[in-house]
C-alpha cells in the first residue's frame, strides 16, 4: 500500500514522457502532411455524378407564382438599450477538443459557441411568437433576404442577402449551400449522422444564380419550411483542402462563420482559455432582429473544472454570470440575504420559459428480464415518488412531466397525466405479475424466488440525490433500485448499448413543431426484424444497439401509427395520431415521466445588462440568444462600490410572462 502514491507519480511521469513522445511524433507528421490541395474539381465531379440532387438552372426558371416573405413584421428581438463593447467573462468545465463543427468530438459542450447559438441560418424561428401559423412557424430573416414556400412542389426557395459575408470577408453565395450538402455527405468528415441525415431528408437542391437557390424535400411535412430555413451554408473556399486528413487538418482552425463571433488563433490557449471575438464590421450589425444581439466585443472562457470553484470565482467577480437553477445554489449558496445580493452588486433573476423540455425520467429497458412484464413496469411507475423529489429536493420549484412529449403546444396530449406515487396501486400491479410476498429485506419475491430488484443507472452526478430519494421510497412499495452513478459518457454509452435495466436520463429536445416517435419508439430501433410478416413477434429477433429506443419498445400497432405519422402532411391527422400513440405509450408504461424544470435562474453581476422582459420564450439558457450586454461604465462603478462599500438597490426578480399552468 505504501506503493500507491510513489507508483502513481512514477506512472504519471511515465505517461507524461509517453505523451511527450506522441506529441513530438504528431508535430513531425503534421508538418510533413501539409500539402496544398484544391478539391474544386472533385466537388464538381460529385455534383455531376448526382444530377438528380444537384440541379443547375437560370433565374428565368424561377416559378412566377411564388409568394415571397421575409418575416419583417415580426416583433424585434433584443433591447435597443443594449450597449456594444466590453468583455463577457465566463467559464468552461472542459476545454473544447476541437474547433471543427462535425466529426468525432465535435458534439461537445462548446459547440453552441462555435455553431448553434452563434451561426446565422437562412431564417430563424421567432423565439417569442411561437404559435403555428397557416404556413407553419413564424420565421425572421437571417442569411436569407426572403424566401418562398410551395407545399405542392415540396420546395422552399431562398434569396440570399446581397451583403452577407463570411467572417474572413468572402461573400456567401448559393454555391456555399450546394457545397454544404457535398460536405455533410462526405466520408471525409467521419460523421455518420450527418452523412445519413443529409442523404435521406432532402430530395434536391437547385441553383438559380449566385444568390438564389431552392431545396426540395421528399415529403411535404407541416414543418417543411423549418427543415430548409434551419440550414446554413458551409464555406467552400475554406474547405478546399477537404480530404482524408480532415480531422487533423481542421482540428484547431476556426471555421469562417456568417455569425458575429470568430476565434482568432492567438486566443486559443489550449487547456486554459479560449476567447470569441466580434467580427469587425459584421454584415448583419444593422439588420433587424440581429442589431441588438451579440453585444460584447469579446467572450472569454476560462477552464474551471469544479463547479463549487467556479461559483467562488463568480462571487469574486471573475466570472460575470452563474447559472443558479439548482435549488442548493438559489436558496443556500446565494440566498436573497447574501451581502452581494443585498448590496445590489449581484442580481438574481428567475425566468420561466416555454418549450419542449429534456425528457427527464426513468427509461425502463423492456428487453430485460422482469421489465418485459408490463405489470412490473406499471408497478414501478406507481412506486416512483417524483412528487417527493419535486417537493423536498427541488423545494417545490419543479413540475411533474406528464408525457414524453410535453411542451409541443397543440401536439401535446391535452388530458393524459402521469401515474402518481401510490404504494397500493404499485403492490396491486406487482401482485398481478406474481410478486406477492415480501422477502426479509422488504423486497417483493415471486414464486420462483426472484427478487424485484433493478439497477438504476444515471450519468448525472449532480442529480444522484434524486435517486437516493427514489430508492428509499420505492422500497416501501417492495421494489429495490440499485443505484449506479457513472460519468456522463459511460452512462450514455451503456444506455445506447441497451445494457441498462432502468436509466435516469434525459434526451434534449429542440423546439420543433411536433414530437418525434420514430427514434425512441419504433421497433426498427429496438430489434433487427422485430416482427414476422404477420405481425407476431419474431422469436429470433436480436437487440439493436446504438439507437435512441432505449426502452426497447417494439409494438406492431405502434409501428404502423409511427409510419403513418411520419408520412402525414395534415396537422390535424398528425395530432390525432400523436394522441393515440401517446396513449399506447402510456399503456406500455416503459417511460416514467420525471421532472420538468420550467425556468432558468441566474445570478449576474450588476454590469451585465439584459432586456426589460429578460429573455425570449424559447430561451433555454441565459446566453442562448445573446441578448445580454456588458456595461463598462457600470462595471467600473460596481467595482468601486464593492471597494468602498457603497450599495445599490437589490434586484431579485421573477419573470413569469411565459409560465405555463400545471
Amino acid at each position: 500500500m505504501h506503493q500507491v502514491l510513489p507508483s502513481l507519480s512514477w506512472s504519471g511521469r511515465w505517461l507524461l514522457a509517453l505523451a511527450g513522445v506522441f506529441f513530438l511524433v504528431g508535430c513531425g507528421k503534421k508538418k510533413e502532411a501539409v500539402v496544398e490541395r484544391d478539391n474544386t474539381a472533385e466537388v464538381k465531379a460529385y455534383y455531376a455524378a448526382n444530377p438528380d440532387f444537384f440541379r443547375f438552372a437560370t433565374p428565368a426558371d424561377l416559378p412566377k407564382d411564388l409568394e415571397w416573405e421575409n418575416g419583417a413584421d415580426l416583433p424585434e428581438i433584443g433591447s435597443p438599450a443594449a450597449k456594444k463593447g466590453g468583455t463577457f467573462y465566463t467559464f468552461l468545465q472542459d476545454y473544447p477538443r476541437t474547433l471543427r463543427h462535425v466529426g468525432p468530438d465535435a458534439n461537445g459542450s462548446f459547440r453552441p459557441w462555435l455553431l448553434d447559438d452563434v451561426v446565422v441560418q437562412w431564417a430563424w424561428r421567432h423565439p417569442t411568437k411561437t404559435d403555428v401559423g397557416p404556413k407553419g412557424f413564424h420565421f425572421f430573416s437571417g442569411l436569407a433576404s426572403e424566401w418562398a414556400i410551395d407545399k405542392a412542389r415540396k420546395t422552399v426557395w431562398v434569396r440570399i442577402e446581397r451583403n452577407a459575408r463570411w467572417s474572413d470577408g468572402v461573400p456567401i453565395t448559393a454555391d456555399d449551400m450546394l457545397f454544404a450538402f457535398y460536405f455533410w455527405r462526405s466520408k471525409y468528415i467521419q460523421d455518420p449522422w450527418y452523412n445519413n441525415f443529409y442523404t435521406t431528408n432532402f430530395a434536391g437542391i437547385t441553383r438559380y444564380d449566385s444568390h438564389t437557390f431552392s431545396i426540395t424535400l421528399p415529403e411535404d411535412r407541416p414543418d417543411m419550411s423549418e427543415r430548409v430555413l434551419k440550414l446554413y451554408p458551409q464555406p467552400a473556399h475554406f474547405f478546399k483542402e477537404l480530404g482524408d486528413d480532415f480531422l487533423e487538418r481542421y482540428q484547431w482552425r476556426a471555421v469562417p462563420t456568417p455569425g458575429a463571433y470568430t476565434i482568432l488563433p492567438e486566443d486559443i490557449d489550449k487547456g486554459r482559455s479560449i476567447t470569441l471575438t466580434r467580427v469587425k464590421d459584421w454584415w448583419a450589425k444593422d439588420k433587424k432582429n440581429w442589431r441588438y444581439r451579440f453585444n460584447p466585443d469579446k467572450i472569454r472562457f476560462s477552464v474551471i473544472r469544479d463547479t463549487p470553484k467556479s461559483f467562488e470565482a463568480f462571487k469574486k467577480g471573475e466570472i460575470d454570470f452563474f447559472n443558479l437553477s439548482l435549488a442548493e445554489y438559489w436558496y443556500d449558496k446565494l440566498p436573497d440575504s447574501d451581502p452581494l445580493v443585498q448590496a445590489g452588486l449581484v442580481q438574481k433573476n428567475k425566468f420561466y420559459q416555454d418549450f419542449p423540455r429534456p425528457t427527464f425520467g426513468l427509461w425502463m429497458n423492456t428487453s430485460r428480464p422482469l421489465l418485459d412484464n408490463r405489470e412490473v413496469r406499471v408497478g414501478i411507475q406507481y412506486a416512483t415518488n417524483w412528487q417527493l423529489v419535486i417537493d423536498k429536493f427541488a423545494r417545490g420549484d419543479w413540475q411533474r412531466m406528464q408525457t414524453g412529449s410535453d411542451g409541443y403546444g397543440e401536439f401535446t396530449h391535452p388530458t393524459l397525466r402521469s401515474r402518481p406515487f401510490s404504494i397500493e396501486q404499485a403492490l396491486e400491479s406487482f401482485a398481478k405479475a406474481g410478486f406477492t410476498t415480501r422477502g426479509p429485506d422488504g423486497v417483493l419475491v415471486n414464486a420462483k424466488g426472484e427478487r424485484l430488484s433493478f439497477q438504476l443507472t444515471t450519468g448525472y452526478e449532480a442529480l444522484k440525490d434524486v435517486l437516493t430519494i427514489l430508492r428509499e421510497e420505492a422500497l416501501k412499495a417492495g421494489v429495490e433500485f440499485r443505484i449506479e452513478v457513472l460519468d456522463g459518457t459511460t452512462a450514455f454509452k451503456k444506455l445506447r448499448e441497451k445494457q441498462h435495466d432502468i436509466s435516469y436520463t434525459a434526451f434534449s429536445v429542440s423546439p420543433e413543431m411536433y414530437p418525434r416517435y420514430w427514434e425512441d419508439s419504433h421497433s426498427v430501433n429496438a430489434y433487427d426484424n422485430a416482427f414476422l410478416p404477420d405481425g407476431t413477434v419474431n422469436p429470433e429477433r436480436k437487440l439493436k444497439t446504438q439507437t435512441n429506443n432505449v426502452t426497447s419498445t417494439a409494438l406492431h400497432a405502434l409501428d404502423q401509427k409511427i409510419v403513418a405519422y411520419d408520412r402525414s402532411s395534415g396537422a390535424e391527422e398528425m395530432k390525432k395520431l400523436a394522441f393515440e400513440m401517446e396513449e399506447m405509450l402510456y399503456e406500455h408504461a416503459a417511460f416514467s415521466p420525471g421532472q420538468v424544470v420550467p425556468f432558468m435562474r441566474t445570478g449576474s453581476w450588476r454590469w451585465i445588462g439584459y432586456p426589460e422582459d429578460f429573455h425570449v420564450k424559447l430561451g433555454k439558457n441565459f446566453t442562448e440568444w445573446m441578448l445580454f450586454w456588458v456595461d463598462e461604465e457600470k462595471k467600473k462603478e460596481t467595482l468601486d462600490a464593492r471597494r468602498t462599500g457603497a450599495t445599490f438597490p437589490p434586484v431579485i426578480r421573477t419573470y413569469d410572462q411565459y409560465k405555463t399552468k400545471d
Partner: protein, 357 residues
C-alpha cells in the same frame, strides 16, 4: 496459549507505552462497538411490545406496519409507532436505540432535503452531527462508514501480508534465478498505475453485481496492486535469517521448506512486518476514502467518509458541519492508528531485544 517469552516482553513493553496502548484500547473498543452498531444507531426499535407479544426488530427480517396494526405493508416507522403507542396510553411500548436514524433514510429539514445543522447548533432533534445534502444522519453515516473502512482495511492488510510475506520469503529462501525473475516481475507489476486500473476495472465490471460483490472486487484490485512493497522487506530479512545456524540445523534435520519458512524463519522476521501493520491500515483507509472522494470507491449509497468529505467540500460555506465532522472523524481514526503504530514499532524494536550481534 504459551507465548514466546520474547513476545511477552514485547507486549509488556507495548503496554507500558501509554499513548499507544490507550489508543489501541480505544480503537479496539470502537471496532467491537461497531459490530453492534445496529443496536446503537438504527431506525429500528430494540424491542416492541405489542398486544402482549415482544418483538425484537433489530436483526432479522423487516416487520411490516401491519404487524403493529398500522395501515401499510412496508417497514414499520418505529419512531412514529412509539409516538402512537404513547398517545394511546395502552400497554404497548417501543424501546428505541440511543440514536434513532439509520444511515440511509432521508429526513427533511424545514420541509426540504437539505443539510440540517447538528442538534447542539440548533438543528433538529436526534441528529447529533446534523445531516448531509439529502438529509441523511451524518453521525450514522460516519459510524457505519468507519465500520466499512476499518474492516475493509483489516481485510486488505491481511491479504496483502499473506501474499507479500509468502512471496517475499520464497524469494529470500530460494534466491538465485527464482529471486531474480520474481523481482523483475514485481518491478514490472508495481509500475502499473493503481488508480487507473481501479477506474478501468470499475468501468467494465457488470453493474448487475451486488454491493458486497463490488466491495470485494475493489478489495481484490487494491490487494493485487499493493502486495509488492512487502516482498522487499521480507526478502532481505529472509536472506539474513537463512544464513543463521538454526536454519541450517533445521535443514539438516530434514524439515520441509514450508516448515522452515513459516515455523523457523518467519517468527524471527515478523517484527519488521508488525511495525508496518498500522501504517498499512492508515494507507488503506486513506486510499478507500480517496477513491470514494473521486467517485470510484464503494458504490452508493454505502456510507463512507470519503463521500462525506466530497459533499463537504461542495458545501463548505453553507453546511460546514459536513466537512468538519468527516474530517475530524478521519483525523481521529488515523491518529489512533498512528499512535498504535509508533508504540508497536518501539515495542518490537529489534535493536532492543535481538540476541544476535
Amino acid at each position: 496459549m504459551a507465548l514466546n517469552p520474547l513476545t511477552v516482553k514485547k507486549l509488556r513493553r507495548f503496554r507500558s507505552i501509554r499513548r499507544g496502548y490507550v489508543s489501541f484500547l480505544v480503537l479496539a473498543g470502537l471496532i467491537v462497538l461497531s459490530l453492534f452498531g445496529e443496536l446503537l444507531i438504527n431506525s429500528r426499535a430494540l424491542a416492541v411490545s405489542y398486544e402482549g407479544r415482544l418483538h425484537f426488530p433489530t436483526y432479522g427480517a423487516n416487520l411490516p406496519g401491519t404487524a403493529f396494526g398500522l395501515g401499510y405493508s412496508y417497514e414499520t416507522n418505529y419512531r412514529e409507532l412509539k409516538k402512537k403507542f404513547e398517545a394511546e396510553g395502552l400497554e404497548n411500548w417501543v424501546l428505541l436505540p440511543p440514536f434513532q436514524f439509520n444511515a440511509f433514510e432521508n429526513t427533511p429539514y424545514q420541509n426540504v432535503f437539505k443539510p440540517a445543522p447538528p442538534s447542539f447548533m440548533g438543528g433538529p432533534e436526534g441528529h447529533l452531527l446534523g445531516t448531509d445534502t439529502t438529509g441523511r444522519d451524518i453521525f450514522a453515516r460516519l459510524f457505519f462508514g468507519f465500520r466499512v473502512a476499518i474492516f475493509f482495511a483489516l481485510a486488505f492488510m491481511t491479504l496483502t501480508y499473506v501474499i507479500g510475506i509468502s512471496v517475499g520469503c520464497m524469494m529470500g529462501y530460494f534466491g538465485g534465478v527464482f529471486d531474480l525473475i520474481v523481482q523483475r516481475l514485481i518491478e514490472v507489476w508495481s509500475n502499473i498505475p493503481f488508480l487507473y486500473m481501479v477506474i478501468i476495472i470499475f468501468s467494465v465490471i457488470p453493474s448487475t453485481l451486488s454491493i458486497p460483490a463490488r466491495v470485494a472486487i475493489l478489495l481484490v484490485v487494491m490487494v493485487l496492486f499493493s502486495w509488492t512493497s512487502m516482498t522487499y522487506y521480507m526478502r532481505t530479512a529472509t536472506y539474513r535469517e537463512k544464513a543463521r545456524d538454526y536454519t541450517s540445523a533445521a535443514i539438516v534435520i530434514g524439515a520441509g521448506t514450508g516448515r522452515i519458512i513459516f515455523n523457523h524463519i518467519l517468527p524471527n522476521t515478523i517484527s519488521t512486518v508488525v511495525t508496518f501493520m498500522p501504517f498499512t491500515i492508515v494507507s488503506a483507509i486513506t486510499a478507500v476514502t480517496a477513491l470514494d472522494f473521486l467517485g470510484f470507491g464503494l458504490p452508493a449509497p454505502t456510507p463512507s467518509m470519503g463521500e462525506l468529505l466530497k459533499q463537504g467540500t461542495q458545501t463548505l460555506t453553507t453546511a460546514p458541519w459536513i466537512v468538519s465532522s468527516a474530517f475530524a472523524a478521519l483525523v481521529f481514526i488515523l491518529t489512533l492508528v498512528t499512535f498504535i503504530g509508533e508504540a508497536v514499532r518501539e515495542a518490537f524494536d529489534p535493536k532492543k531485544f535481538t540476541t544476535y550481534e
